[in-house]
């Protein structure tokens, strides 16, 4: 009997030894969020920066088609996807529905980048071997990109609002609307400016940031975006201030700025908005009003090249959209031509007409047009500025937003009886409304 007891105790003591240690295998198949939040290295943070820059391109072809179609810049004919010309143009009884790809996919891609930016903002303070100025650089970059992504979402959903506080997925903030949303976006840009001022940039950026990839350059990028948000908020004075701190230059190249670049390397992407000219099947054609309303001699007609007539469901066009001319053509995020136009717009609204005309004439001369000779009144100059914006920034995602903020949606052409011009997209179906 004694032997049994001894054996039993012996045995359980031994088993206790073996069982006491327990492993926890991490994720073997890739880094996890936690890997980046705990003691990240500079390389980890650089990966996040690159991932953010790369992720900005996801679903941008769809975004441009979304805002371009409603803004009557282009039609997108696709045999496998008829909703580009039914739902987006409001044909007959078609409506924009909240579960469809045209809002669900773009919104998801933008918020994915916002999440990545929030991760970078949260991770950077935990990086032990990164200098404080470098840390400020990372955070400033993240704030700037985050604001830009939220702005693209707001462009689509407008009065339906966006969600700003999404850092904690288990405690998402409330929806924010209209001017509140714009003001909050401006605040995020301001936080970015504060971080970037006096910071250092030690992370790699693609060639889309060439010339502006240091702290000073990123600060100019930040202020350029702020200038855009200012005009959306109708804050004309600050728009001029912010332009002054950006890379705006009346005599600089129109195409100087920040771009998303594309490539065919491993894991990279090609330009999703590129379609070769004169295709059949998948086609992107310019709205006929583009050629009808252009001033003869304006060289921006080259953005809509002639092609055999394409037709689908009662729509016709004989011009291809030819803005992105190869599958590795870059896509602008913000460039000098827009900044010049912002300068003009702000000055018009502040009644500085001569300054505005100087800027407008710069644009006109770059595009083979004579100087402006119309009336020097605010309404006339606004019309002229909107014309220049329409043609200079064709298929870069601006027309619908401009027309909407000037309450001119009802001036957009209706191509077929029964079509509608929408003012905004619904929120994606997975987004809960504010309680």
């Amino acid at each position: 009997m004694k032997k049994i007891i001894i054996n039993t105790i012996f045995y359980f003591l031994l088993s206790g030894l073996v069982v006491s240690c327990q492993k926890d295998y991490g994720n073997l198949n890739g880094p996890t969020e936690e890997n980046f939040l705990t003691n990240p290295t500079a390389d980890n943070l650089n990966n996040l920066v690159t991932g953010t820059e790369s992720g900005m391109r996801n679903n941008m072809g769809l975004y441009l088609d979304d805002v371009g179609t409603i803004g009557r810049e282009n039609y997108r004919f696709s045999p496998s996807e008829p909703r580009y010309i039914t739902d987006l143009l409001g044909a007959d009884s078609s409506e924009l529905t909240n579960s469809n790809f045209y809002i669900v996919n773009t919104w998801a891609s933008r918020y994915r980048v916002v999440k990545n930016c929030n991760l970078l903002i949260e991770a950077t303070p935990n990086a032990k071997l990164v200098s404080p100025t470098d840390k400020a650089g990372y955070i400033g970059f993240a704030q700037t990109i985050k604001a830009y992504q939220l702005l693209l979402c707001l462009n689509q959903t407008d009065t339906n609002g966006i969600r700003l506080d999404v850092a904690n997925p288990n405690a998402l903030g409330l929806l924010s609307f209209d001017d509140n949303a714009l003001d909050s976006i401006q605040e995020i840009l301001d936080l970015g400016k504060i971080s970037l001022t006096g910071s250092t940039v030690s992370f790699p950026l693609s060639s889309g940031f060439s010339g502006l990839n240091d702290a000073a350059g990123l600060l100019q990028f930040n202020r350029a975006l702020a200038a855009r948000v200012d005009v959306y908020r109708k804050d004309w004075a600050n728009a001029l201030v912010d332009l002054g701190q950006s890379f705006y230059g009346l005599n600089n190249d129109l195409y100087e700025g920040i771009y998303s670049v594309f490539g065919t390397g491993s894991g990279d992407q090609v330009n999703p908005a590129f379609i070769p000219q004169k295709q059949t099947g998948e086609v992107r054609v310019a709205n006929p009003s583009y050629a009808q309303d252009i001033i003869p001699g304006d060289d921006r007609i080259s953005k809509a090249t002639l092609r055999p007539n394409a037709t689908s469901q009662g729509l016709n066009s004989d011009r291809d959209v030819w803005v992105y001319t190869s599958n590795t053509a870059p896509m602008p995020i913000i460039r000098n031509e827009e900044l010049i136009l912002i300068y003009a717009e702000a000055n018009i609204q502040l009644n500085n007409f001569s300054e505005a005309v100087t800027a407008l004439n710069k644009i006109r001369s770059e595009h083979n047009l004579p100087d402006y000779s119309g009336a020097l009144t605010q309404p006339a100059l606004i019309n002229e500025m909107l014309y220049e914006r329409r043609y200079s920034l064709f298929f870069e995602g601006h027309r619908w937003v401009d027309v909407r903020r000037y309450h001119l949606l009802n001036t957009l052409p209706l191509d077929r009886p029964g079509d509608n011009v929408w003012g905004e997209f619904p929120l994606p179906v997975s987004e809960p409304a504010n309680p």
Binding site: N27, R112, P169, P432
Partner: protein, 988 residues
């Protein structure tokens, strides 16, 4: 470090074995006969309370030194145990009685304990070697289980050589988690993973451009095991029986025991099967005319004229082909050889077997090969210590063909679906295949040139040790250790040469996959059996277990190949993925069994279990179990000589869990590069660090009773299985940054009944008929759902989809129902299933055995017919049907296409069937005791030859998405097969 501790513990425990002193003994001899005066060899003769024992020889004789006043127990599988109080005589004669109801059969109930069936609290299904593959051979082990297990819903995913079956006990155990049982082979927990070969890279079945998808039709690793080596299988169907197995037992446990050696002269058995495999059913093709050929152009008159001309030219040259028959009409030749050697003496027995199988498929260049070597040894180191080793080497090679869903038109079924009978696909005199103008691929060219090969090298080795280190009159204590490892290396080789029609962009694709997997498990237990009194025996057991798994899969896809090459460096572009998993489960268990007056058995046990797959890897979860069995006739309450020769009531309860899918607690980052820099962006799936395992609790109650001295036996069982916190992938708000997230989303319930009747209606000296009827049904219900309910697992409401909804069956199929919008159109769960297994023996020479299986009801989502309609090649496309809306006749195919988007009724189709799964006729030659040949048996068998079903596709058993929750979706599978075999088996 861990292994060192194990070995130390092991050796120290052995060292503590004391010895037992002997008492006065006398030599005794005896003979054991069966009821018909034949001697029985191999009968175990044991002395109660003593370590000594022996086995009877071929003449049924034994010799043993028996102490005074001892009791002898005679036991042998298939016969009732006999107890004899030794009266002092030196020559005994024992007559064994057949155990028709198998009441004395010993069944495993714990990790180291077993119990007689008549005292069992659960309904445990056992299959012996004859039932498993004694009727007809199966290509793989999992196919051998099909239709034979009461309470199981077994569905063959595909007819592809090499297997792939889904085995679900008592309904679905999980939605996203593991639905398959744990397989234990001689104490080794074997791996049953399905590894994709990367076919999605070419087929594009799952959009997104990834290398792998759930639609790649892989086989499961359990199919490697050789069914011919198996002696018996025990199946624990739910937590009430399997709780003691812990983390992986939620879907049940299948305990496989292979053949061991037998005492006596060494026997060599040679058996050979030769067979033919053919397609079970063909759907037929549309007979075209010039007019219908022109209609293939869908209104374009110029192209239509071209097609009509193609048809008339082909017709005049006699070149109208039935391509379905050409592709699936190959007769595959199958051969299966097994040599086994079995022998030993009363201290050591061994079993050695070598088998090879080579079976061609019904599609050219497909087939399956399996080579197996097994060596099992059992040895008594001393009277108290017993050791057993099982080692197995397996080498399998399967060419699986290219079938199933795709978005590129390259699988054989999809290419066929749009290819009419008048196009020329055969190669010309130079061996050059023409392009197929009606599809993206030429299926004859594809099957001739492509390769989809799975090759496995596998070692499964198990060790068992039983050491009695304390023995007295009242108590026996032993140490039981078991465990082993399962290692395999799986190579998948997929090659699509550049000359193929659909490789004009990629110029040749080679996808090479390499997987290594190692599973190790060990169980160390102490078992004590304490006889309190004649009426109470307590068996206590306690122990701990550990399982480790390590899986590493590397998959590389190379395109732009150098002509004729398949190495991934002989290519212009290369993309790869790697997937690894690692886990460790640890558990401690305690179990107490009380046997009261040998008629009431009460069991109570608990297991503490933790796993690295859980959100909290260090937390122990508790899984209790309890069971009660009351044998009324054995306890004296009912007279065993009365109406009921056996009457037993039983009830059992147990809890088990299902660990979360690997990686569900992590939020992984994804790769996103720009400008040559490597970027990390948040992944789309949010992990849940607090993820809990899915928990199962099962209650089971039943009764077994026998009439007519065991000639008629009934078993009735009712069960209720609750699954708590099942996992779901849910869409969070997009502003969170993710598109899916794991949640423990709700509760699920399965209830059902199982009834079994076993009878021996005729037992004469010339004719014996043994028959079993089984009936079983299961109903599932989602009892709680905290996340939004969305369609999932299929292709949406337009075609018919699964959807988890509170209050509804878990396997319901919803779809568009015309005016009614979305409605429930069916359920994948059958209404009930029945099977019958019969053995008729004439004059002890002829034996006719057959298995009939009836699945009543249950629906599939049949999209094969839709593919053929879209491609306008369905056999009945032109037959006229009256359109109910317009009351006008129109071709059936056209009508069915108009219904797409209005009603999914035509896709959700009843898939009930009656299958004569196996039938075999065997003749055993009688041999004299002195001849060299001890046994000679010839036989013929047929498998799947008779299938009665209204289902309109190839076979009602199908799953496009493989093994898992969403089986029964039919998209152009590899067709099911039937086979006929001739057998010969000789024992020397």
């Amino acid at each position: 470090m861990r292994k060192f501790k194990f070995i130390t513990a092991f050796l120290i425990c052995i060292a503590c074995i004391p010895f037992v002193s002997k008492a006065q003994v006398k030599p005794v001899t005896g003979t054991v006969l069966d009821g018909k005066n034949h001697p029985v060899s191999g009968v175990s003769v044991l002395i109660v309370g003593q370590p000594q024992g022996t086995i009877t020889d071929e003449a049924g004789k034994f010799k043993l030194n028996v102490p005074e006043n001892s009791t002898l127990v005679f036991s042998y599988a298939g016969y009732r145990n006999q107890t004899l109080k030794w009266n002092g005589s030196s020559d005994l004669k024992i007559d064994l009685i057949e155990d028709i109801a198998r009441l004395d059969e010993v069944v495993v109930t714990g990790l180291s304990t077993s119990i007689k069936r008549r005292n069992l609290a659960n309904s445990v299904v056992t299959l012996n070697a004859t039932q498993l593959n004694g009727v007809a051979p199966s290509q793989t082990f999992d196919q051998a289980l099909n239709g034979k297990i009461i309470g199981a819903n077994i569905n063959a995913n595909t007819g592809s050589p090499g297997g792939g079956l889904s085995v679900k006990f008592r309904g679905v155990t999980s939605v996203y988690g593991n639905t398959q049982p744990l397989y234990v082979l001689d104490g080794v927990f074997v791996d049953n993973t399905s590894t994709s070969a990367g076919l999605n890279f070419v087929t594009g079945a799952a959009a997104g451009g990834s290398l792998v998808s759930t639609q790649d039709n892989p086989s499961g690793r359990i199919s490697d095991i050789n069914a011919e080596d198996i002696a018996n299988i025990e199946i624990l169907k739910g937590a009430s029986a399997a709780a003691i197995y812990g983390s992986r037992a939620a879907g049940g446990v299948v305990i496989i025991t292979t053949k061991r050696g037998r005492v006596g002269k060494t026997q060599v058995t040679f058996s050979q099967d030769l067979g033919m495999i053919q397609v079970s059913k063909l759907l037929g093709v549309r007979q075209f005319t010039a007019a219908t050929a022109a209609s293939l152009a869908r209104g374009d008159t110029a192209t239509g004229a071209k097609f009509a001309l193609m048809f008339t030219n082909a017709q005049s040259k006699g070149e109208i082909y039935d391509y379905e028959k050409e592709i699936y009409g190959n007769t595959g030749f199958a051969r299966n050889t097994l040599v086994s050697v079995s022998g030993g003496n009363d201290r050591t027995t061994f079993y050695l077997s070598a088998g090879t199988k080579d079976e061609a498929g019904i599609v050219k260049n497909t087939g399956y090969r399996n080579t197996s070597l097994r060596f099992n040894v059992d040895h008594h180191i001393s009277d108290n210590v017993k050791i057993g080793i099982s080692t197995n080497y397996l080498n399998t090679s399967a060419n699986r063909g290219l079938q199933g869903n795709d978005n590129t038109g390259v699988t054989l079924g999809i290419a066929l679906s749009s290819t009419p009978d008048f196009v020329q696909l055969h190669p010309d005199a130079n061996g050059v295949y023409p392009n197929n103008p009606f599809a993206a691929s030429n299926p004859l060219q594809t099957l001739a040139l492509m390769q989809n090969h799975e090759g496995v090298n596998r070692f499964i080795s198990g060790l068992g040790l039983e050491a009695v280190f304390q023995r007295s009159e009242k108590s026996v204590t032993k140490f039981v250790a078991g465990g082993g490892f399962d290692f395999y290396s799986l190579q998948t080789n997929v090659l699509f040469p550049g000359t193929l029609q659909f490789q004009n962009v990629n110029n040749g694709t080679s996808i090479q996959g390499s997987t290594n997997n190692l599973n190790i498990n060990a169980i160390l237990s102490l078992v004590n059996s304490y006889t309190v009194s004649r009426n109470l025996i307590l068996t206590s057991s306690a122990g701990f277990t550990q399982e480790d798994g390590n899986y590493n899969n590397i998959l590389n896809a190379a395109t732009h190949l150098i002509a004729g090459q398949s190495n991934i460096d002989q290519a212009g572009a290369l993309t790869g993925t790697q997937f690894r998993t690692q886990f460790q489960n640890q558990g401690i268990y305690i179990q107490e069994e009380a046997s009261i007056i040998d008629a009431v058995t009460a069991t109570v046990g608990v297991r503490f279990d933790r796993s690295t797959n859980n959100g909290d890897a260090t937390k122990f979860y508790t899984y209790p179990k309890a069971g009660l069995s009351w044998n009324l006739t054995h306890s004296g309450l009912m007279d065993p000589n009365g109406l009921f020769s056996n009457f037993q009531l039983r009830a059992a309860y147990g809890e088990a869990n299902n660990t979360p899918a690997y990686g569900s607690k992590f939020t992984s980052m994804a790769v996103s590069n720009i400008g040559g820099y490597t970027g990390a962006i948040i992944g789309l799936q949010k992990g849940n660090p607090d993820i809990e395992p899915e928990r199962q609790s099962e209650f089971e109650a039943g009764t077994d009773f026998s009439l007519f001295a065991g000639k008629l036996n009934f078993t009735l069982t009712y069960y209720k299985k609750n699954i708590y916190n099942f996992l779901m992938l849910v869409n969070p708000p997009a502003s969170a940054g993710y598109t899916s997230q794991w949640f423990n989303a709700g509760d699920l319930q399965n209830q059902g009944v199982e009834m079994s009747v076993n009878a021996r209606p005729v037992t004469t000296s010339n004719f014996v008929w043994n028959t079993t009827f089984n009936f079983w049904l299961n109903r599932s219900k989602v009892t709680r759902l905290t996340t939004p309910s969305t369609p999932q697992g299929s292709f949406g409401y337009v075609l018919g989809s699964y959807q988890i909804q509170q209050g509804q069956s878990a396997t319901q199929l919803l779809g568009l129902d015309g005016q009614n919008g979305v409605a429930k159109l069916g359920d994948a769960e059958p209404i009930f299933q029945m099977n019958t297994y019969n053995e008729l023996t004439f004059q002890n020479k002829w034996s006719l055995r057959f298995l009939l299986h009836w699945k009543n009801g249950g629906q599939n989502v049949n999209l094969t017919a839709l593919q053929n309609d879209f491609g306008q090649t369905s056999a009945n496309f032109d037959q006229l049907i009256i359109n109910p809306q317009t009351q006008q006749p129109m071709p059936q195919g056209v009508y069915r296409i108009t219904q797409v988007g209005y009603s999914a009724q035509q896709f959700v189709e009843n898939s009930g069937y009656l299958k004569l799964r196996e039938i075999g006729l065997y003749y055993s030659f009688s041999t004299s005791a002195n001849s060299v040949i001890k046994a000679l048996q010839l036989g013929v068998s047929m498998t799947n030859f008779f299938v009665w079903t209204k289902y309109s596709s190839y076979d009602p058993e199908v799953s496009n998405f493989g093994t898992g929750f969403n089986t029964n979706i039919d998209v152009d599978p590899y067709p099911a097969t039937k086979r006929a075999d001739f057998h010969i088996s000789v024992t020397f």
